[in-house]
Each structure stands twice: as C-alpha cells, then as structure tokens.
C-alpha cells in the first residue's frame, strides 16, 4: 500500500510537471504561449475528428465478433492444446481479447481478480500480463488509418509476437516471483 500511494503521487507529479512546467518555462523564454498552444491544439482537434470513421469500422467488427461468440469459439478451439503446454486456462479469454480492446480486457482482469481473489497467483499473472502486452490490433488500425495506410506489412505479426512474448514472460516471471 505504501508503494501504491507513492506511485500515485509520482505519476501525478509527472503529469503536473508536463502541464505546468512546459508553459511556464516557454513563457519565461518570451514565447507567445497561448497562441502557440491553440495552434498545436487545432491540429490535435483535426486528428481526433479524422480518426472517427476508422474507429467505428474497427469497433463494430470487433464487437460483432465478440457478440457472435467468436472469442468463445477460439477458446474452445485452443484450450486443449494450451492445456497440454501448461498454459493457465483462466488466462485464455484475457489473452485472446487483449490485442483488440483495452476496456474489455480490463473488465476480464477485474473478473479474474474477483473470482480468484486479488492475491491469487492467477490474478497476479493476469495483472502482469496486462502491463506487458498492448492492444496491438487497435493501435495498428487506428494509427495506420490516421495516415491512410492500408498495407501494414510486418507491423501486425511483429506486434503479436511481442504480445505473445509478453504473455509468456508474465506467466514465467510471476511463477518465479510468487
């Protein structure tokens, strides 16, 4: 708990120093801070609006697949194989949905922690996994879409291999620390 609150304080301190120190020092350097801010902010606004269509396309496809039972089907398909390899099966739904959605995987993590308890080994593995993996498909779709790239080359395979490494490393490291 000590470390926990220490981390909260540190991350807020970092946030405040980003948002406080930058304008202050720029102002001291005689930069027209507010005009500069709005100029950059306008660009941010345009980027945010521009990605909406790509966002809708990705989100609808992902949620259709989820509602149709796609992730559940993948779980049934993969679980015998992964079980043989010693993969902890409660982590499978999280592993499958993690590349697609951050909010959905957070709710699965909450589910695992609730079912097994926050101190259980499997909960720690799941939490570690969340930290060591990313929403690869989501990032690739939105980032590339923003600049109109349709041929993504090796970005998806590389991202997924990195994610798989994160999953395996999370399981092994937790096993070792626990």
């Amino acid at each position: 708990m000590m470390l926990h609150s220490w981390i909260t304080i540190t991350s807020n301190a970092i946030l405040f120093s980003f948002i406080g120190a930058i304008p202050l020092v720029a102002w001291l350097k005689k930069i027209d801070v507010f005009a500069t801010f709005t100029e950059g902010a306008e660009e941010g606004f345009h980027i945010a609006v521009k990605i909406i269509p790509y966002w809708v396309g990705f989100w609808v496809a992902m949620n259709m697949f989820r509602a149709a039972g796609g992730f559940a089907a993948l779980e049934t398909l993969l679980s015998p194989l992964l079980n043989c390899l010693g993969f902890p099966l409660p982590l499978l739904p999280l592993t499958l949905i993690r590349p697609f959605s951050g909010s959905a995987s957070n709710s699965i993590l909450a589910d695992i922690a609730h079912t097994y308890g926050g101190q259980a080994k499997v909960s720690h593995m799941a939490a570690t996994m969340m930290g060591s993996t990313e929403t690869t498909f989501y990032v690739v779709m939105v980032y590339f879409a923003a600049v109109g790239i349709s041929r993504t080359r090796h970005a998806i395979p590389a991202g997924l291999i990195a994610d798989a490494t994160g999953v395996i490393a999370a399981i092994m490291v937790t096993h070792w620390f626990y």
Partner: protein, 204 residues
C-alpha cells in the same frame, strides 16, 4: 492484412451468429458499438487537443529538441531513416515516454502526430514504411513503468500488496520490447514484407 482481418471478423461473425443462434445479440451489437465508437472518439477530442497544444509549446521552447538529443543514440539506431531533428522523432519520443509513464490519454495524440510526420518521410503512399512498423512494434510492446489500472484492480479485490507486480511487469515488458524490436527488424528484410521498387507487386 488489415482488409483481410476486417472482412474476416465481420463475415465470420455473421456465419457464427447463425451457427450459435446469437443473431439477435450480433444485430444489437452493430448499432450499439458504432455509437460507442463515436462517443469514445468524441470524449478523446478534448484531451487530444490539449496535449498537442502543450506539445507545440514544448517544441517552440526547445524542450523536445533537447530531449531528442539526449536519446538520439538509441533513436538513430532504431530509426536510421529519420533525421534526428525531424518533428517525427520528437513526437515518437513523447509517445514512448507517455506510454512508459502510463499516461495513455497523452500517448495517443503524440502517436498519431508521429505517424503523420513519419508519413511525410514515406516514399510509398498507402504502404507502411520501416520506421512506422518499428514505431508500432515499440509502441505495442512498450515498457510500462507504472501499470496503474492493473494495480488498482488487484487492490480493489483485496490484495494489500498489489504494487508488487511492478517488478514482474518491468521484467516481462522488457522481454517483450526486446523481442518486438528484434522481430520487427528481422521481418522488415523478409521477402514477404519487403518493399519492392515501384511497379512490382508483393504480398502483404
């Protein structure tokens, strides 16, 4: 690849909905999720506008150039085709830094800005450059110093020492970052993914 995955997700959902008898749920999810996507995007407009405004000030004040010079040796190795003083470098560094610190809302605008700047250096319209792929690999395998959400979820479920996961996360994420960089550099040179000179087609 992107087109294939998108079509695969949608078509397989339609087929599975009939097999599993989940047509009603799938039909309902279409309208709901389209709406959700726009709402999420709109709720991000404010924070994106703010952070890119702050970033412009940091650029003008010379902070980003200073920071870029500090990490230049590493960045030049990772992105040999991007000049050190290019705005893409600054945006990528900020994106990676924000990711490491767990400032996810700040990371997205920096990342999108970085992609726009990288696209200015891109020789092939519509095709990802090596630098873009490397940046995304780095982004998706990002080193996380503070896994705040995961800690909060464990703590909420009765773990009094939830922040103990910091060290395991650091080790696991370092592994995935190293593998991500090695793999992305290796795959870039494979025949399947290489960009051929203009006029020829390659599979992707």
């Amino acid at each position: 690849m992107l087109n294939f995955i998108w079509v695969l997700l949608i078509v397989s959902s339609v087929i599975m909905s009939f097999v599993n008898g989940t047509e009603a749920a799938v039909a309902a999810s279409i309208a709901v999720s389209a709406n959700q996507a726009v709402n999420t995007a709109i709720s991000l407009i404010g924070i994106m506008t703010l952070w890119l405004g702050i970033m412009r000030i940091a650029e003008c004040a010379g902070f980003i150039a200073l920071f870029a010079k500090l990490v230049a040796p590493v960045m030049e190795k990772l992105f040999p085709e991007v000049p050190t003083d290019h705005p893409a470098m600054g945006a990528m560094i900020l994106n990676i830094a924000a990711n490491m610190l767990g400032l996810n809302n700040a990371a997205t605008p920096f990342g999108l800005r970085a992609m726009e700047e990288l696209d200015k250096l891109n020789q092939h319209r519509g095709i990802a450059s090596d630098a873009m792929c490397t940046f995304l690999a780095l982004n998706t395998s990002s080193v996380q110093l503070i896994p705040m959400t995961a800690i909060a979820i464990l703590a909420a479920n009765g773990d009094s020492a939830a922040s103990d996961i910091v060290v395991p996360v650091l080790i696991a994420t370092t592994c995935s970052t190293i593998v991500g960089i090695v793999i992305v550099k290796w795959l870039a040179k494979r025949k399947l993914f290489r960009i051929e000179p203009a006029g020829t087609n390659d599979a992707a």
